[in-house]
Assembly symmetry: C2
């Protein structure tokens, strides 16, 4: 099982511009190393050090079988939000190659060992160290290899190592995912940046992958948490690759407060809204990159549902379409098979009226009032499907509810990757 592995081909949907230049965020340093957790010759562990006084927020998988690291992060974050940050800095330690999930009590022992090592090396409280593990489920985490790497990680911490950190947390990802914006908050320029991993086992409910976000903004922890949770629902909880939900997935955001600005305390502070818009952009950018690296993806598909009786019903229809194997294989085959969209609407469980339903591919009206539109020509649909970026519009015509979700197609490559992942 150990040994090196040939790098897979990069997704055809990867950003043409490559990984963005992530600028330093005051109060945050990164390091990455090769710890040999599962494979040799690749970065597989990353450490982020965050200066004292930061506000921390998080979103975690709701899986009933979530991993030891997730359970520990939830406890620590809840304690922080109850008691305030207290003294000392923060740290995030992530390994790839092994998820430390379904490893029983040994899983928690491994978390505690790595947390203690990080806390000792950086001089931060153990309650301030957040870990995550991603990779194979059910095998014991070789915590000793990770612990052995921590001294070297500490010694190489740098404000410029975010890209290395982003690469270290990859599993079946074919490209590292980063995003950055700068936003003016009351005349002060503030940076928001982050990185993410994920390409399979991607679906809500939760932050469905590993996501780390950093900003020098000064913002109260409770307000930061509210904004992060809300924007997760619009981004990471609105994407799906295969409808499968990981046991490990984690989003952590640190706002260091080192920008020269008065701290944002109130939700109605106009700077809170500006911050939320900017953070939402970073999160959506990262979420889209995860879909574009969906295992085997060749199409990036936006599903816009309108006219439902509620937003929740629209979301139900959106995910019924976005998770349908028949819809996703039609996209893979560049087949404008709108009948499968009708099928997915029907099975969603949402209220729908066949005779008020309309369907569009991009700007092309395909079906309306329970049948194919008189203006629709199959050749137009087929030509549209050749694009890499597709927009499917579904209007249910019975209300004001709406939702947008994102998915990719289902190809041979997905089968190849997942019928041969473990051995």
């Amino acid at each position: 099982m150990a040994g090196t592995k040939a790098a897979p081909p990069v997704s055809p949907l990867a950003p043409a511009s490559g990984f963005p230049a992530l600028p330093p965020v005051a109060g945050v340093r990164f390091a990455a190393a090769e710890a040999g957790v599962r494979y040799k010759g690749r970065l597989d562990v990353m450490l982020a050090e965050i200066a004292p006084g930061a506000s921390i927020a998080g979103v975690f998988t709701k899986s009933a079988t979530r991993s030891g690291p997730v359970l520990a992060c939830e406890e620590k974050l809840a304690a922080l939000h109850r008691g305030g940050p207290g003294d000392g800095g923060f740290a995030i330690l992530v390994n790839s190659g092994n998820a430390n999930a379904f490893t029983g009590n040994a899983g928690r022992v491994a978390v505690d060992a790595t947390v203690a090592a990080v806390a000792g090396a950086l001089g931060v409280p153990e309650g301030h160290v957040f870990t995550a593990s991603t990779g194979v489920i059910g095998e014991p985490l070789p915590a000793d290899r990770i612990v052995a790497a921590i001294g070297g990680l500490r010694d190489t911490l740098s404000v410029d190592a975010a890209e290395r950190a982003a690469r270290a947390i990859m599993t079946t990802d074919t490209f590292p995912k980063g995003a950055v914006v700068t936003v003016d908050l009351g005349g002060v320029p503030v940076t928001i940046m982050g990185f993410a991993k994920g390409s399979g086992m991607i679906a809500p409910d939760m932050a469905t992958m590993l996501v780390y976000l950093f900003s020098d903004a000064a913002i109260a922890p409770g307000l930061l948490q509210a904004i992060v949770s809300r924007q997760s629902d619009r981004s990471f909880n609105a994407i799906t690759v295969d409808g499968d939900t990981s046991t490990s997935d984690t989003l952590v955001m640190a706002a260091t407060g080192q920008a020269a600005m008065p701290r944002i305390e109130a939700p109605d502070d106009p700077r809170a809204a500006a911050f939320e818009v900017a953070l939402g952009d970073v999160m959506l950018d990262l979420a889209h990159q995860v879909v574009k690296d969906g295992e085997g993806a060749t199409k990036f598909v936006e599903v816009r549902v309108t006219g439902a009786v509620s937003d929740a019903e629209a979301r139900k229809v959106g995910f019924a379409i976005a998770n349908s194997p028949l819809v996703k294989t039609a996209f893979a085959g560049e087949d404008p098979n709108w009948g499968r969209i009708v099928m997915a609407v029907g099975k969603s469980g949402a209220e729908a009226d066949r005779d008020r339903l309309s369907i569009r591919f991009g700007d092309i009206l395909v079906a309306e009032k329970g049948w194919v539109a008189p203006s629709y020509r199959e050749a137009d649909g087929a030509a549209y499907m050749k694009q890499a970026d597709l927009v499917v519009g579904v209007d249910l015509g019975i209300g004001d509810g709406e939702a947008t979700v994102w998915t990719c197609d289902l190809t041979h490559r997905y089968i190849e990757i997942n019928a041969d992942y473990r051995s």
Copy 2:
């Protein structure tokens, strides 16, 4: 789009014994013909004639976008159950090649035209003619071609043509599906037989395909309906190929009452229980054949969930496993990747306790109490996975709820079939 199509390779899971010899059922005759609905040179329409006095029961898709034929069948069955059978025989007309779904008002017009033609040809009331259509969604049904075939169908009705009828309703099926039992009801031998089609777009809630069942039993319609509904939940509503639900699917059962027995009127008649067991066997046999002809299937997988807080929760866990693309690709790869089973339990939404969960592959205990079992050897799991028939046992350890569902693996062939079905 028209023209002949090369026959696909038969599923490796097809019954070795081939299609069973379906004996005549007193009061039922069949015919099949080539009407050229979509493809030439294949049987694509079947007619069943049922003598007056039969009890009819049915189960239909709950899809919000269900087809015109389904809506018409629901109305007719409800009227029959309200008002009694009245005079006249019954008929079932089914075509493949075109689903007559999402075809607006024209869909209902096409239903009415074929119903009128059958009623006229056989001299039965229009309210006694049940139709179904299966195939591509959203294209107008060429009702004229079907109507043109009805005279020939009538003239060739035969008690021995059930296999031809079973073949005529196939779409992407690679083998026709039939089953038969004989049961002793109070000293009278009674036949129950039927056939089904379905291999993709298969999932509950409903009879997720086309299923026709016939018996010479004498049984009251309300009791027959109750038994059929209950056994559907244990068979056709307990299988999944891809989690996708058709707009068209239909189960119709006719009990002609021509066996020399007093009619079963009461649920507590011991003959009702014997009939239900026998009918349940036929239905489960057909349901399993549908899974074994699942598009691209190479493995037949039984998922047995026990120890849930309720049967409904057990079913939720069973379908989360049976529909998971990651679990199904692991089966395809013969990979004993029990971590993906853990993942699926976690995402199911059912109550679960990681540290009480146990997992078995056949008789092999794989995981217990939140971790891999001490006795488990990966080589044993890998050897087990090479079988074509797999049993996955999941015990949640927190209650008495249980459910069994059936599925198949997810292979390259599924992608091939579905990325290239329409054109």
